[in-house]
């Protein structure tokens, strides 16, 4: 027959397990131990409270511009929750809760966004790459890490994050294509939060879903309710198992919503309505998860309150550690650190130049 439908190797599904009212589809409900459910809940609350606190600190002028995560707690924590410490995280810049889950100290986040390079430092034990600000540039690094894993025949996997806007960037397509060709153990998590600053998802691409882009590269794709932590855990688990067993990459579109600003320099009132935001407030990932935990008898109102208080105390303690750190000597001369493994002569001399200037300024301030 000259004209017939082409059979593609993968089909596209949408997964939702816990709806916005906290009702669970028991046929799909993943078997997650109570302890882990509560840990996920706590991490989501911590992510939300830390985000709120950062916003306050930013409004007070104590930290600079950052990208809030509010509303996207499930889509990121649900995904990284299935990783082991030997796996790799390659984040964009709106995965703070996922990074904290993976061991990044909150005071480092504050240090970075208060303008100190030291905040970007990654502990030796962590397999988290630093945040990548140029949109869509980092999934390629995940592919390279995946190649290294495959080459050394390790059991590790890589999870990389990016947003709906990033799917318009060429590098994301190159990453998906390379991942398909080389069958690397990489999970691509696209947090479709519906807005790339002021450009809505519908203006980013004519495609009905973002997940379907996976099909163009011959890799499995799945659309998931990103505000449903159970669905995120289930989808991520499936993808990680596939990657770990040599089945190659997966693309997960986590459909979520950026409830807050793009960054603190942004005013969403210019381009979206409050009604739209309110529609998504009803689908808050934390609220529905608390309903679910309550119905399972795992979380009482008092317990939820206690978690909230503990988490606030944790955020406060981190803030205090940060405040103390920036009181201490944070020498500007460290700006030369990490330029190269060994500073070449011209940088040694430029470093000396700055050192002399700093000393002269100090002397002048002292005498003046």
């Amino acid at each position: 027959m000259p004209r017939q439908e082409i059979d593609l190797p993968h089909r596209l599904e949408y997964l939702s397990i816990l709806d916005e009212n906290g009702q669970v589809d028991t046929s799909l409900e993943p078997d997650i131990p109570a302890e882990l459910l509560l840990k996920l809940h706590r991490a989501m609350v911590l992510g939300r409270r830390f985000d709120e606190r950062m916003l306050t600190l930013q409004r007070q002028g104590r930290i600079g511009t950052f990208a809030p995560i509010k509303g996207q707690e499930a889509s990121q924590i649900g995904a990284v929750a299935v990783l082991s410490s030997q796996d790799w995280l390659v984040p964009a810049f709106r995965e703070t809760a996922a990074e904290i889950w993976r061991g990044k100290p909150m005071e480092n986040v504050l240090l970075l966004f208060s303008g100190y390079n030291e905040g970007g430092q990654i502990d030796d034990a962590l397999r988290n790459l630093p945040i990548a600000i140029p949109v869509g540039s980092q999934p390629l690094h995940a592919v390279g890490l995946g190649y290294g894993i495959k080459y050394h025949k390790k059991q590790e996997v890589v999870m990389t994050f990016f947003g709906d806007g990033a799917t318009s960037e060429g590098d994301v397509h190159e990453a998906l294509n390379f991942a398909g060709v080389f069958q690397v153990p990489v999970i691509f998590v696209c947090q479709n939060n519906h807005w790339a600053i002021s450009i809505p998802r519908g203006k980013q691409t004519r495609a009905k879903t973002l997940a379907q882009k996976a099909l163009g590269y011959g890799i499995p794709g799945m659309a998931v309710d990103g505000n449903d932590i159970l669905a995120m855990v289930a989808a991520a688990k499936e993808a990680v198992e596939r990657a770990r067993s040599g089945g190659g990459p997966t693309f997960i579109e986590a459909i979520t919503y950026r409830m807050s600003v793009h960054t603190t320099a942004d005013d969403p009132k210019r381009y979206r309505t409050d009604e739209e935001v309110q529609e998504w407030v009803k689908r808050d990932p934390i609220v529905r998860f608390e309903t679910y935990l309550g119905s399972k008898g795992l979380l009482t109102e008092e317990a939820a309150k206690a978690v909230d208080e503990e988490v606030r105390a944790e955020v406060k303690a981190a803030e205090e550690r940060w405040a103390k750190r920036i009181e201490g000597p944070l020498d500007p001369i460290t700006m030369f650190d990490g330029a190269f493994a060994e500073l070449p002569p011209h940088l040694v001399s430029q470093r000396e130049e700055l050192k002399r200037e700093l000393e002269a300024q100090k002397r002048e301030a002292h005498h003046g």
């Binding site: 990654i122 690094h141 080459y151 590098d171 190159e174 070449p344 940088l347």
Partner: protein
């Protein structure tokens, strides 16, 4: 010692480093069975297999970005851009990430990769196959920029670039790929990045150059000696970043007269930095303005006219005479 072309010498460097260190992986477009369009990677896939000699999809940014991830993982990727004119797709990955990951992560991660590309004119190629844009890379903090000039130094520099703990952009003068042969020892040879050499000794004038321009420069120096009795000292930079300014400033102090030669456009080209360093470090020794012999600030013309665009023996020799007449 065998006499080799630069292509063969580069191939020797890759083969020996791959045999020695299983972390070294070659990747790029057509680098496998085809051996690269210039045959620099010829035979590697047969010797090391397709896991270590990767034919990638056609996407330069993808190649560079993937190399970054591989390097972070601990591999030593040597990626090839088929022509430097197509490498700008990769510029963003190199500038935004390869050059910065060590700094950004507080030393936790590093990117020991080499990005190789053939560059420069003189091979009667199509548009986009002849340009010289080394300064894009040399101007980027965190990248090293190397340009060999002969088979022997190309081999030694590539070995050192592969072993370097930081990202190195390695420009290969394709006009010199097969133009001449040189003795290249079979046994291992390295050459420290950031070190320039005296390619010809002289006392009257210093000519600073690099890459494909070394040959016409040496030829001009020979002609100047024969016709005019001028003894030109020729400095071959070999690495543009970090730039070894000790050797050429010392030479300038000795001769008092300097000519800079490169095929890249003049304005903000390497010559601008060289002149600035001379002014900073040898100002009182200069007896004449420093002359720049360079490509013009236009797109290099198609091949019927590229030789008129590129600095040649005539232009270099005339510039030296003018400098001496001052």
């Amino acid at each position: 010692m065998a006499k080799m072309t630069m292509v063969q010498a580069l191939n020797l460097a890759l083969r020996q480093e791959m045999a020695k260190d299983e972390r070294v992986i070659v990747l790029g477009e057509d680098v496998g069975l085809d051996g690269g369009v210039f045959r620099v990677t010829e035979g590697l896939i047969q010797e090391f297999g397709e896991e270590r000699v990767i034919d990638t999809p056609l996407a330069e940014s993808g190649i560079a970005g993937m190399s970054i991830g591989m390097a972070v993982y601990g591999l030593r990727p040597v990626c090839e851009m088929q022509f430097s004119g197509f490498s700008y797709y990769a510029l963003h990955q190199m500038e935004a990430h390869a050059a910065r990951l060590r700094w950004r992560s507080g030393g936790r991660f590093s990117v020991p990769m080499v990005l190789r590309c053939p560059y420069g004119g003189g091979v009667r190629a199509l548009e986009h196959h002849s340009e010289s844009r080394e300064i894009y890379w040399a101007h980027t903090p965190g990248l090293k920029m190397v340009i060999p000039s002969t088979p022997r130094n190309a081999r030694a520099l590539l070995v050192s670039a592969i072993r370097d703990p930081d990202p190195v952009v390695f420009y290969e003068p394709k006009a010199s790929y097969r133009a001449f042969r040189e003795e290249v020892p079979e046994e291992e040879e390295t050459f420290p990045l950031g070190t320039s050499v005296v390619a010809r000794e002289g006392k009257d004038v210093t000519i600073i150059t690099y890459g494909a321009m070394l040959r016409p420069t040496l030829e001009a120096a020979e002609q100047l000696k024969e016709k005019d009795g001028i003894e030109a000292e020729v400095i071959d930079l070999l690495t543009l970043m970090p730039l070894d300014d000790a050797l050429f400033t010392a030479s300038a102090r000795k001769t008092g007269r300097v000519v800079v030669v490169h095929e890249a456009p003049r304005t903000y080209g390497a010559g601008a930095e060289l002149v600035a360093r001379l002014v900073e470090k040898s100002f009182l020794y200069l007896e004449a303005p420093v002359k720049r012999v360079t490509g013009f600030d236009i797109v290099i013309p198609l091949y019927q006219r590229e030789m008129e665009y590129l600095p040649g023996v005539f232009r270099i020799a005339e510039a030296v005479r003018e400098t001496l007449r001052f």
